[in-house]
Amino acid sequence: MLAHPASGFALGYGVDRLSAWFLLVLSVLAVPISVYSLGYLRHGLLQRRSVFVSVVFSILLGAVELVFAADGAVSFLFAWELMALANAALVATEHESREVRRAAFLYLAMSHVATGCLFAAFLTLSAASGSMSFATLQAASLTGTPRHVAFGLFFLGFGVKAGVIPLHVWLPEAHPAAPSSISALMSAVVIKTGVYGLFRFCAFGLGVPSPAWAVLVLLCGAASAVLGVLYALMQHDLKRLLAYHSIENIGIILLGLGSGMLALSSGRAELAALGIVAGLYHVLNHAVFKGLLFLGAGGVAIASGTRQLEEMGGLGKRMPWTALFFLVGAAAISGLPLLNGFASEWLLFQAFLVGFHLSSEVGGRLLLLVTSALLALTSALAAACFVKAYGVTFLALPRGEGAAKARESPWLMLAPQAFLAVLCVLLGLFPGVVVETLRGVASSLPGVRPAPELARSVFAIAPGPGHFDHLSPLLLAAAVLLGLGVSLVLSLFAGYPVRRAATWGCGGELSARTEYTATAFSKPLMLIFSAIYRPTREVQAVGEAYFTREVTYRSEIEPTFERFVYGPLTRGVLQAAERLKVIQAGSLHAYLAYVLLLGIVLLLWLGGGG
């Protein structure tokens, strides 16, 4: 620990239970991703940059660890900036491509806007408390407008890093641009630093949260969840699709946090624990399955030489293990039972419904109702999206030459995926273990008192005492296994062996060109939600009338946030800069005059006060 007693400046580190939980998430992911990198960095262009990637990767890991472990604003912001810079450098690994450079720049710009907000927020707090250490910062009793301003600044700053809609625009650019091992780390852990900040400062750092904050967090969470998955459905680049799912899952985590904050604001300690535990559980779950999916996608991208879904297909036969692990991740992220995603979404539904049951005001009830309907929609849409992503990538016939020549990844890349896939199953079958740990984390937070019944046993969880609900995934698994047994017995009755034949082609020849595409698969949803997508389509037929030789088809969705929020913002900043050019004439005399003028103003202002 570095300290300068005279100024009160200190670079301090300390780990409490909340930090420990996030450090656990980091550690669970850091090891498999590092092992994966050993195999992954041997390929192609990355081989030449493997030293660069490895070194910066280690710096990034260290920086994230420091972010979680910092116990003062100075060490936190130092680690935060180190993390942002290391991450931006890694995003720019393949900087020959213009898109990659643009993604890295966008990441850097957004990241610095976020850091600016955090600086302002920490300075506001430290002005009130007189110290930079978190313990005193959190004791600072801001009231009225400054408290709301501090919340707003923290929410903006951490929201950008977490990728909360409408602050998400950098995420779907930066995650696919980075090498896959880095994408896995970014999506699984680095964006969680934003979530960590939201938990630590927005929910528990500024006193009892006001109901308006909770509503804001819930609304942003719901928007991120639903829009995240809706945009993911329209992506045909595997890594971009996964990146949009990160936005969706951050939304789900925020729904947990928001419902916890809503309960905190009305002083319901046990109910608050439910939302907080659901959110923190999902932090771990999302890290595990999204890490797994990105690692799988990295293997697929290397083996097939493309990230475009429409050029893949048939990889399940060429990369059987990758396909199996990806399927586990796909089912887990879709919130299907027996896997980990279901357990945390189940807890989240409990938080909503118990909250509805206990609350008495109409507004809160209405909000919880709408969010639970949106959560149901989100997980169902996620399932649709992953049926598409898995089916088009791994099943049927290869649509491109790269996919046809693909080979299974080396075991160094497969073993980490196996580890994470097993973890998806274990975290889903034994939710009691996780929830019991989280009960400890939650009880260390002010105003939260988790019910002792939360974890009934290693296998079973419940929202609280009584009969509201409970879940025991291991029993469900036993029931499904029995059902599988019955189905296997029934299959034995066939008097004949299985015959293999060509797929029925409606009288014609079937080839990879007649397969259902990813675009076609998600088209019904594009038309149904066209109010959100505002799709445009262009069909061009080449040839004489009646005898078309070639058809080109292009379809696009409107990038609403980029065009209508960030477009005007960027233009505004550029115009303002254009206007300000007048005072930046490059004349030394003018600058000297500014300095003189500033000196006089300062003298008048400060001297006048005395």
């Binding site: 149901a376 169902a380 397969e515 698969f521």
Partner: protein
């Protein structure tokens, strides 16, 4: 051994529903035929079909992988597992320790996920088309299903189906308009989940209109039997849930044989009435254009929302 305590009743209930499911489909077909002044297939045709399919030679595509084989099995297994979460004759579910409404919906979603994924495995455009439509309809039906079930759950103070049915049976029917609305909402979801007119037509193999049938077009033999039986079971499960949640009248509270006989008779009666309702809807409506289905699901969602609003807000 506590597992055995659940296993016995659970297995019995699953066997009962498995045995009943083809009969229900047969009855609906027969009634539909009667409405159309046709004779229709025999009532037991469903069983003959299953027997025939189970003994037939299964043909699988050369392109397909293990996912194609797993699809029907997981679909069937999850439907069988879900039977243990639903109260049928007794005011309680054999496996209510395992979970409630959310587990029930989740298990069925797991089966659907595997079957829809498997539909992409043969490279046939029909399979992909069906899988895409099935997942689309399911995604739209899910919020409506949840809200409908939540409105009952919040009234009964439990998300566990066993507990919920006990509470409602104890209270007696309240005939609150909210229950009427929720029942209507869930009836629409039942139509969508069971793939019946006006959402889907179980009797067609026209590629432009089919949803579920397109998804399973490539299956044959025992694979197809499992899909057919699984979806019949799923339909029966939804209908059981509907009748027992809204009219828990007559459910056995003790393990006395008399109580079970009464419960069985009443259950059959309630199921028959609902089946008549389903048949009436199927005979008097034309299949909706696929892009009109969202409107139907929005209606269901709205009804579920209203059901909650008039009781709780």
């Amino acid at each position: 051994m506590s597992l055995l305590r659940w296993l016995g009743p659970g297995a019995l209930q699953a066997a009962l529903l498995l045995a009943l499911a083809p009969l229900l489909r047969g009855a609906i077909k027969k009634m539909k035929a009667a409405f159309q002044t046709r004779q229709g297939p025999p009532l037991l045709q469903g069983y003959y079909d299953l027997l025939k399919l189970l003994r037939k030679e299964p043909v699988r595509s050369e392109v397909a992988s293990w996912v194609f084989v797993a699809g029907p099995r997981v679909y069937f297994a999850t439907a069988v597992a879900a039977t243990a979460l639903v109260p049928v004759l007794f005011a309680g579910a054999p496996l209510e320790e395992a979970g409630g409404i959310l587990a029930f919906v989740g298990l069925l979603a797991l089966g659907r996920f595997f079957l829809a994924t498997a539909s992409l495995d043969t490279g046939s455009p029909c399979g992909g088309m069906g899988g895409s439509r099935e997942m689309t309809v399911a995604a739209l039906a899910e919020p409506a299903l949840m809200l409908g079930l939540f409105s009952m759950a919040l009234w009964g103070g439990s998300l566990n189906l066993g507990d919920l049915v006990r509470t409602t049976a104890h209270r007696g029917p309240s005939a609150h308009p909210s229950e009427l609305l929720a029942a209507a909402a869930l009836f629409l979801v039942l139509i969508a989940e069971a793939g019946r007119i006006p959402v889907d037509n179980p009797a067609t193999h026209l590629e432009l209109t089919m949803i579920h049938e397109a998804m399973v077009l490539e299956y044959s033999g025992a694979d197809l039997a499992l899909v057919e039986w699984g979806s019949a079971l799923k339909e029966l499960l939804f209908m059981t849930l509907l009748v027992n949640l809204f009219f828990p009248l007559g459910l056995a509270v003790t393990v006395a044989p008399v109580a079970f006989v009464v419960a069985a008779a009443l259950y059959a009666g309630k199921l028959f009435l609902l089946a008549v309702g389903v048949t009436l809807v199927e005979t008097t409506n034309a299949k909706l254009r696929f892009f009109r289905v969202p409107e139907l699901m929005a209606l269901s969602l709205g009804l579920g929302f209203l059901a909650l609003a008039i009781r709780f807000l």
